[in-house]
């Protein structure tokens, strides 16, 4: 398989799901994100690439206000989900996070059974009115995360007992179970081996049918394989944002070109 193959570049939808304008993030006195403007399309995989410490994860965490949990972080600017300002004081951060799910760098299943891991979100949001409905949500989420066949006989086994790749797919199932509209993935494959990575990437491509997916990755090959839109961050600035094919074959900014050809990073 050609790592840099750029097939299927059709963007699923041109409808804008999230739009950020003039976004600034400060960690104490450090200016981590400088004036970033991005539009995330619906039913599209958008990749954030860039060298370590460039702010791509920080920006990702702005999109579901996970930066709120860090005391010293301060976010400024305008980020809208479906035209609604998510940093508006009236917005309920709990509802926001139900709509914007997140998968983390390291698989972090709860020390509970596989079933309870997936049922966690639906339970706290009251998505199922009875046990049968909850069973249905758990099953369909595990199927969507392409892990159902591996775990269907041991739903009561602890989630922490699965392999790394299975744990990460379990975490994806857990995020999918709350039926979010956007799925944020923070380097979801960095702790996985190549086979598990391939499984997760395949899964991301399938998830595109239902969700808007934003993925942060260190691997340019991964960005090229799974995304339709790519944003390149450098030193807290959004350097270039466009169709993945264009970014990788015909970058406009010299810094983007240097990065994707391996001269900076």
């Amino acid at each position: 398989m050609n790592d840099m193959q750029l097939t299927e570049r059709t963007v699923g939808s041109t409808e804008i799901k999230i739009s950020a304008r003039g976004c600034q993030v400060y960690y104490g006195s450090t200016h981590a994100i400088k004036d970033v403007d991005v539009d995330i399309n619906d039913k599209t995989v958008t990749a954030f690439i860039g060298p370590s410490g460039c702010g791509k994860s920080t920006f990702l965490r702005c999109l579901n206000r996970m930066n709120d949990t860090i005391d010293v972080a301060r976010v400024e600017g305008d980020i809208r989900l479906d035209g609604e300002d998510i940093y508006d004081p009236k917005v309920d951060v709990v509802q926001l996070r139900a709509k914007v799910g997140m998968v983390f760098q390291k698989p972090n299943p709860f020390p509970k059974s596989i079933y309870d891991n997936v049922a966690y979100g639906p339970r706290i949001h009251g998505l199922a009115s009875n046990k049968a409905e909850l069973d249905g949500i758990v099953e369909s989420s595990l199927k969507r995360a392409a892990i159902w066949n591996e775990v269907k006989d041991r739903l009561d086994a602890p989630g922490t007992g699965l392999s790394g790749g299975q744990q990460q797919r379990l975490c994806i199932a857990r995020a999918v179970a709350t039926s979010p509209e956007v799925l944020l993935m923070d380097e979801p494959c960095s702790a996985l081996d190549p086979i598990a990575t391939a499984q997760v990437e395949e899964l991301i491509d399938e998830l595109r049918e239902n969700f808007s997916v934003v993925i942060v990755t260190h691997s340019m090959q991964q960005a090229a394989r799974v995304s339709q839109k790519t944003a390149f961050f450098h030193l807290g600035n959004l350097v270039e944002f466009g169709d993945t094919g264009q970014i990788f074959t015909n970058p406009k900014d010299p810094r983007t070109e240097s990065y994707i050809t391996g001269r900076i990073g």
């Binding site: 996970m66 996070r97 139900a98 997140m102 983390f104 709860f110 509970k112 706290i124 949001h125």
Partner: protein, 522 residues
């Protein structure tokens, strides 16, 4: 002569010798180098240390071991002096006829023990008498069987003497005293010899190639090993010192009579000589009322400490701002350092009267009660529980919180559904440790739980006074009167023994739970 060879003097001499050895060794090494210090294998300083340590450590170690073992050795010696056909130990004809063989053996054994402890006390008393200058050695040799006046004379001099003194006991005591005195001189003498020998040999060994650095490292390592085993040895010694009297008590009184007895009413029987009819002890020494009081108070204490401590820990680790945390956490830890006697005073003068005023004196006749002691002990344990729980809650990885919050859970949902279940084993461990402290706690219950010397049955009223294991131990061992030949005093050792194993068991349990928890995230 013997005045020089006591432990403190020898220790002083050895210390002076070691300090001198350091300087002598150093200068000898410098001299051996012939002006070029680099030709030495080790630094002059290390040569000096080697001499000092070779002088000091073996001789001091010997002294310590000697002090510990000489008691044991003289016990064995006195045992060998006492033969079974001593007139003092013979059973009466009546006893030989009426008692079974097994009972005779028990009688014989306990009267032998009594005799030995009497002889030991007497030897100590005579030694003290001579030390005070009340008699010379020759006078002591001349003492004969006018035993009752002898006892009075010793008592008048301030010595402790047991009630029965016989000629046989006096003979044994004299031999024992001579033996003890010889031991007391021999040990320091050998230690001094070791020090001088080590000093001379190590000084002579100094030359250019002598590997003093390696020797010093070895001495230091040996010393560290010694230091680390001392604590364990002390525990063993504690256990040994309470085990023997406890076993004697169990044999005399009956293990199950003790463990399941519902009454605690000491009557002052002498060991081996039951005073009740049917050859039973008049003292009722049942464990149940005491452990009931202990556990009841511990239960109330945990009822107070666990919720408060746990909620404080959750607040501090999950909700408090860094500012609040930096103020409250040290404040809680300071509370943990308040002496328990202060808590006891607080219970006695403040909480007790307050509770009595609230519930009325029909339900709560005294200010001392289960609730008084339990509530205050609970407050004492709050920082203990919160600090341990805080540690285990903080050990739950941040990824768990992120995972839960990222799914749209509220902070309190995250705490109850993810963090507490994950931290539960550690929290249970903290609670078990707190329980073990509550059971062993002494000062608060001495002041605030009640001080009855006789109890029957189990007090159910939480506002009634109870007696705990620890208060009984304190009361009997600090009280006047009863000597160690009383069954009631032996029972105290059995209490301490049982308490030791209960808390040991709880601590082991807690350790296992905590260890199991640790495995989960590693």
């Amino acid at each position: 002569m013997s005045a020089i060879f006591n432990v403190p003097t020898v220790l002083l001499i050895v210390t002076v010798l070691a300090v001198a050895g350091y300087f002598l060794g150093r200068s000898r090494a410098i001299a051996a180098s012939g002006g070029d210090r680099r030709s030495l294998h080790s630094l002059p300083k290390q040569h000096g240390w080697h001499v000092a340590l070779a002088t000091f450590i073996p001789s001091v170690l010997l002294l310590l071991v000697w002090v510990f073992l000489s008691g044991l050795v003289s016990n064995i010696y006195v045992g060998s002096l006492v033969s079974d056909d001593l007139p003092d130990l013979r059973l009466t004809a009546e006893q030989r006829e009426t008692l079974t063989e097994e009972e005779q053996a028990i009688r014989l054994d306990s009267s032998r023990r009594l005799f030995i402890s009497g002889a030991q006390t007497l030897a100590t008393a005579i030694e003290g008498y001579v030390r005070n200058g009340s008699a010379t050695e020759a006078q002591v040799e001349a003492w004969r069987a006018d035993l009752a006046p002898l006892r009075e004379r010793l008592r008048a001099d301030g010595q402790v003497v047991s009630t029965t003194v016989s000629q046989g006991m006096l003979n044994v005591a004299r031999d024992l005293r001579t033996f003890r005195n010889r031991m007391a001189v021999a040990g320091p003498l050998i230690a001094l010899g070791l020090a001088v020998g080590g000093f001379a040999l190590s000084l002579m060994a100094i030359n250019r190639d002598f590997r003093a650095r390696i020797s010093v490292e070895r001495w230091i390592r040996g010393f560290l090993v010694f230091a680390s085993t001392m604590a364990i040895l002390t525990t063993v010694a504690i256990l040994a010192s309470i085990t023997l009297p406890s076993l004697t008590f169990f044999r005399e009184y009956g293990f199950f009579n003790f463990l399941f007895g519902l009454e605690w009413a000491p009557a002052g029987d002498t060991v081996g000589a039951p005073e009740g009819p049917n050859g039973e002890y008049e003292s009722a020494l049942g464990f149940l009322p005491l452990i009931w009081g202990t556990l009841y108070i511990a239960f109330v204490a945990l009822l107070v400490a666990v919720p408060l401590g746990l909620f404080a820990a959750i607040y501090l680790s999950e909700f408090a701002s860094p500012r609040v945390r930096s103020l409250v956490k040290p404040a809680l830890e300071i509370l943990a350092g308040v002496p328990t006697i202060v808590y006891g005073i607080f219970a006695l003068v403040t909480i007790g009267p307050f509770l009595q005023a609230v519930v009325g004196s029909t339900i709560m006749p005294n200010t001392v009660s289960v609730m008084t002691a339990g509530v205050v002990m609970g407050m004492m344990l709050v920082p203990f529980v919160s600090s341990l729980s805080d540690d285990v809650i903080n050990a739950v990885p941040q990824a768990m919180r992120d995972g839960s919050l990222g799914l749209g859970a509220t902070p309190s949902e995250t705490v109850t559904k993810v963090i507490l279940p994950a931290a539960l084993p550690g929290i249970v461990g903290a609670i078990v440790l707190a329980a073990s402290r509550a059971i062993g706690e002494t000062m608060i219950v001495v002041l605030a739980a009640g001080a009855l010397s006789n109890v029957t049955g189990l007090e159910a009223n939480p506002f009634g006074a109870v007696v705990t294991v620890t208060t009984r131990i304190v009361a009997v061992l600090t009280g006047e009167g009863s000597g160690f030949d009383s069954i009631d005093v032996l029972a105290i050792f059995a209490l301490a023994f049982t308490l030791f194993f209960i808390t040991l068991g709880l601590n082991l349990l807690a350790q296992r739970i905590v260890a199991k928890y640790r495995e989960q995230y590693e």
